[in-house]
């Protein structure tokens, strides 16, 4: 017993000792826990607090509504419309397929749509809405709303989509919006661009003023849980909606111009304010519907636009460059005047001009007989200008043309703008490494040969003439938000006013009795226009064709002459200038001039009505009904040829 007690005591001594060691180990382990706690909570506390905030708060961007684009009197040209879309939240339905089957009865969904929807359902979190279809019609929206009880998980969401009330009519000015490309995303700092579905201006005004129109992103601070589900909104900043952009365009005139051009296969027209350079109408036909671009254009439609021979996507006012033909003659005349040529000097026109072994023809077979400068402009006598050009040389003509804005890009920033070509001896050497042939000067004199110009350049040239030699520049933007940017005082281009007056008088003669465009004159007193017609060869007329007397209308459309016309009005104190081209329209004075007449008369009548309204004290901002008014046009006189 004693032995047992002794052994028991010994055993307990060992155990007590070892218990102490064990206790020490536990105390050490406990200290490690406390140390770790101190490290995490005190030493690294701030770091983890930051991480916790990041965890908790998710910043969502709110897309601001895009600024509207309006015409000069406030008529909306580009607005935002509600876009209804059907969405499906997959966690609210037991069977996605079954729900989709029901949806299909109300909304046509293609197999591709369905595949995309099912893919999104798999990919996204179960509470994230998956878009079933966008741009629902009212009927579709109401059909779904009525059937919502049978469509678990389906709901209608409202978004914004860009809408162009004028559709095709202003497409080339406004451009369109589209989704952000990969490349644009890389170079941009604006976080908005990474917002899914966000659209930016891709062309035209939408692109030029994209930053102003875009606005700034709003933010919504959301408290989210670990799976991203929104618990509540902590703070919200709605951001700045985009600025409104006011254009110099007159919606009514624009609409009318586009309608007027639609009578032809392919044409362009531009009307501008002579004093400000503000573009009142800029029409290019055929056109396209930018609304389709805003919603995402179907590939087949896009392909058909691309393939169309008349290139609807091309804005011909700036991106079409044409031989200006006789509309260039005022430049030749001015160059002559500045070179000291006597305008009263007469040149005999026998219908052709022989030079350097070549025969240069006048469009009038029998010739004009003796013509001075005034007659030459009025009747568009080619031989007079051959002679004039030969005397002064191409460089003077080119210099004059450049001072009038030809051969140079405008600052419109419209897509695809061309510079056109104003050739001179230096240009020839630079481009072709060849010397200039004098014969080429003769072609330049009548706006053929190497010379090309865009309609906007021709309009600017006309405006600069009509303004008495001011370097008017064209522009489309009148104001961004409230900041008016219009300029009215323009530098002088340094041509003697009397020279310009002489050319303008000649151009006034074009629409007077005996002038080439007399048939297309404006008869209303005080509204009369002056102008210059041009019929530019697209394809050289061979001697055989000339001899055969091939009728121009019988040639293939693509080979027919372009019809051009530049004009200003009113003649006494010009306010408006315009340039018209009808591709392959054959007759400048017969086809292009009537369009110029209609547009210039329309704008003058409108302005007169406005002035009257303003005088009567009526609110000038009365809603403007945009429908083309009946245009009073002079009846075409029978028996007149098709002069250039």
């Amino acid at each position: 017993m004693f032995n047992a007690i002794d052994r028991d005591a010994e055993r307990q001594r060992v155990m007590n000792r070892r218990t102490l060691v064990l206790g020490g180990l536990k105390a050490g382990a406990l200290s490690a826990l406390v140390a770790r706690l101190y490290y995490l909570q005190i030493l690294e506390g701030d770091h983890y607090t930051t991480l916790a905030e990041d965890n908790r708060i998710s910043l969502r961007l709110l897309a601001p509504s895009r600024g509207t684009i309006v015409d000069r009197s406030g008529v909306p040209l580009a607005v935002n419309e509600q876009n209804f879309r059907a969405v499906l939240v997959s966690e609210r339905t037991d069977d996605v397929d079954e729900t989709l089957d029901k949806v299909v009865k109300l909304l046509p969904l293609t197999d591709a749509d369905r595949r995309r929807i099912l893919r999104d359902v798999d990919r996204l979190r179960s509470f994230a809405p998956v878009t079933l279809r966008e741009n629902l019609t009212w009927d579709q929206v109401s059909a779904i709303e009525v059937n919502l009880p049978d469509l678990p998980g389906v709901s209608i969401e409202v978004g914004q989509v860009r809408s162009y009330p004028f559709g095709e009519q202003a497409a080339h000015i406004l451009g369109y919006v589209g989704v952000v490309s990969e490349q644009e995303l890389q170079n941009a700092r604006d976080p908005l661009l990474s917002l899914p579905g966000f659209r930016i201006g891709k062309s035209g005004i939408e692109r030029k003023h994209d930053l102003a129109l875009r606005g700034t992103a709003g933010t919504s601070q959301l408290e989210v849980n670990a799976v991203g589900r929104v618990v509540r909104e902590l703070a919200r900043n709605d951001g700045q909606p985009g600025h409104q952009v006011t254009l110099t365009i007159d919606a009514k005139l624009q609409y009318y111009a586009q309608q007027r051009l639609a009578e032809h296969e392919s044409a362009a027209a531009v009307v501008l304010d002579v004093q400000t350079g503000g573009i009142l109408a800029l029409a290019s036909h055929p056109s396209f519907d930018p609304n389709q671009f805003a919603m995402g254009i179907p590939q087949d439609l896009y392909d058909s636009l691309i393939k169309n021979e008349a290139s609807p996507l091309t804005n011909k006012v700036v991106a079409g460059h044409y031989a200006p033909g006789s509309t260039f003659k005022p430049m030749t005349a001015l160059a002559g005047l500045e070179a000291g040529v006597d305008p009263t000097h007469r040149v005999f026109c026998p219908g052709h001009y022989d030079f350097g072994g070549h025969t240069f023809h006048c469009y009038k077979k029998g010739g004009h007989g003796p013509v001075d400068m005034h007659d030459a402009i009025r009747m568009s006598c080619d031989v007079y200008f051959y002679d004039l050009a030969r005397r002064i040389g191409v460089d003077r003509i080119a210099d004059m043309a450049r001072r009038f804005g030809l051969g140079d890009r405008t600052d419109l920033d419209l897509p695809g703008e061309k510079t056109g070509i104003i050739p001179d001896t230096k240009w020839k050497r630079r481009t072709y490494k060849e010397n200039w042939y004098d014969g080429e000067t003769l072609s330049v004199a009548i706006g053929q040969g190497y010379v090309t110009a865009t309609p906007i350049q021709l309009a600017v040239m006309c405006a600069r003439l009509a303004s008495g030699g001011k370097a008017v520049k064209p522009h489309l933007t009148k104001a961004v938000e409230q900041e008016y940017t219009e300029q009215t005082a323009w530098p002088d281009i340094g041509v003697k006013p009397e020279f310009i007056q002489r050319v303008l008088a000649g151009m006034a003669g074009v629409t007077s009795a005996g002038g080439t465009a007399y048939a297309a004159r404006i008869t209303q007193p005080g509204f009369e226009m002056g102008g210059k017609s041009g019929t530019a060869q697209v394809k050289r007329i061979t001697m055989a064709e000339r001899n055969a007397g091939l009728l121009k209308a019988e040639r293939p459309w693509k080979d027919r002459d372009n019809a051009l016309f530049i004009a200003f009005a009113p003649v006494q104190a010009p306010r408006y200038a315009c340039a018209i081209i009808v591709e392959h329209g054959v007759g400048g004075s017969s086809v292009a001039a009537p369009i110029a007449r209609d547009l210039l008369l329309e704008i003058q009548l409108m302005e007169a009505a406005r002035a009257q309204q303003a005088d009567a004290g009526a609110a000038p901002s009365a809603p403007i009904q945009v429908t083309p008014t009946q245009v009073t046009a002079a009846p075409a006189l029978p028996g007149e040829g098709t002069p250039r």
Binding site: R11, L22, G45, Y48, A52, N225
Partner: protein
């Protein structure tokens, strides 16, 4: 000692009243206080609701409290007598779950009793301690010095550990090993034998690694490098550290733990409840909690030291080590000190099995205290 010398046995036949008087009511109060922290945390975990966790946990605790007292009042000699039997039952249940247990969380671990799910591995944590205590109750230092004497005990350990590993439940099997190791240590097994075993285990690690399940490998990898995979396996630990760290000195306030309430914290009502406590109560609250826990451990030590028989000492020490291991593994895990192992925090975490076994453990601890002076022969039951 004096009592023993006098050959008296004042506790051998205590009345129920005497036993109730002997219960350490201060320990019961401490246990209840710790459990109340648990209720509060479960209330917070449910975003300020008693449902679904706090109410059920309170009810379970009430049941557990009664069970604890019943266990405490049963004569310790009866526990000694039935130690092997209870161990046998737990072992049998382990085999049962292995054969036909439910599949949950990728591991077969529990038997559905209807009102709760019973994890035999949890039961084993208590019964293994009892069985080993019984085995070493009568062993002298000479006995424990003999390897042949140790072999049956080793079998008693290794067999359930293997079954638990098969489930597979790495955490519990390691706990079983560590508790057994602690008992071996206390009964005087030589240090070099431990060194030998530990050495051979370390050598076997590559082999063990080979046989480990992918999810277990991932857990170890995640532990070694949690930032590598912040949305995968490292996610839990990252989020837990963020929650803990962002608590700071004084915490975000009760019910204000953004990490926990926004579900960034996984399993916040079970394994990661300490994280939520530290997030909402800060370092101060966590230290208070740890201090209370340390006090529980001190109680276990004092009870063991004051016990006059080897069985009671070993049971008290074993259960204290068990409690410590639960707490340490859980807290070290949520703080990113050790790999993620699914070990609950006793008295705090929501759950059935562990709460039950922990309360039984406390009951046995109290029982040892009540019967601290009971006379038991070294050879077992002869005096009973």
């Amino acid at each position: 000692m004096i009592n023993l010398d006098m050959g008296l046995d004042p506790q051998s036949n205590m009345s129920l009243g005497e036993k109730l008087g002997q219960i350490s009511w201060s320990l019961v109060l401490l246990i209840t206080a710790v459990a109340c922290i648990g209720f509060a945390m479960l209330y917070s975990a449910a975003n300020g609701n008693f449902d679904p966790w706090a109410t059920r946990q309170i009810m379970r605790f009430a049941v557990g409290l009664v069970l604890m007292l019943v266990v405490a009042l049963i004569d310790i000699r009866l526990w000694l007598k039935f130690s092997y039997f209870l161990y046998g039952i737990a072992f049998f249940l382990l085999i049962v779950v292995e054969v036909m247990g439910h599949v949950g969380m990728g591991a077969q671990r529990w038997i559905d009793l209807g009102f709760m799910q019973l994890q035999p591995s949890e039961l084993m944590k208590v019964t293994l301690v009892m069985a080993l205590a019984r085995y070493f109750h009568g062993a002298s230092l000479e006995d424990t010095g003999r390897i042949t004497f140790l072999i049956p005990a080793l079998v008693m350990i290794v067999a359930p550990v293997c079954l638990v590993l098969l489930q597979p439940n790495l955490g519990t099997s390691l706990m079983l090993l560590m508790v057994s190791g602690a008992i071996f240590w206390l009964v005087g097994v030589r240090l070099w034998k431990f060194a030998l075993v530990i050495g051979s285990v370390l050598a076997a690690i590559p082999v063990i690694w080979h046989f480990m399940h992918d999810y277990q490998k991932n857990r170890v990898n995640t532990f070694l490098n949690p930032e590598n995979d912040p949305l995968g396996h490292g996610y839990h630990i990252m989020q837990s550290k963020i929650a803990l760290g962002s608590g700071g000195m004084f915490g975000k306030g009760f019910l204000m733990g953004s990490q926990s309430h926004l579900n960034f914290l996984p399993e916040k009502q079970t394994d990661f409840i300490f994280t939520m406590l530290a997030e909402e109560m800060g370092m101060v609250g966590a230290l208070v909690f740890l201090a209370m826990y340390a006090l529980l451990l001190v109680y276990g030590y004092v009870i063991a030291m004051r016990c006059r028989h080897q069985y009671g000492r070993l049971v008290a020490m074993g259960l204290t080590v068990n409690l410590f291991l639960y707490m340490f593994i859980n807290i070290a895990m949520v703080m990113g000190l050790i790999p993620v192992v699914g070990v609950p925090l006793p008295l705090i975490s929501y759950g059935g099995s562990s709460a039950l076994t922990v309360m039984i453990g406390f009951g046995l601890l109290l029982c040892v205290h009540v019967h601290r002076d009971v006379r038991m022969s070294r050879r077992g039951m002869s005096d009973f």
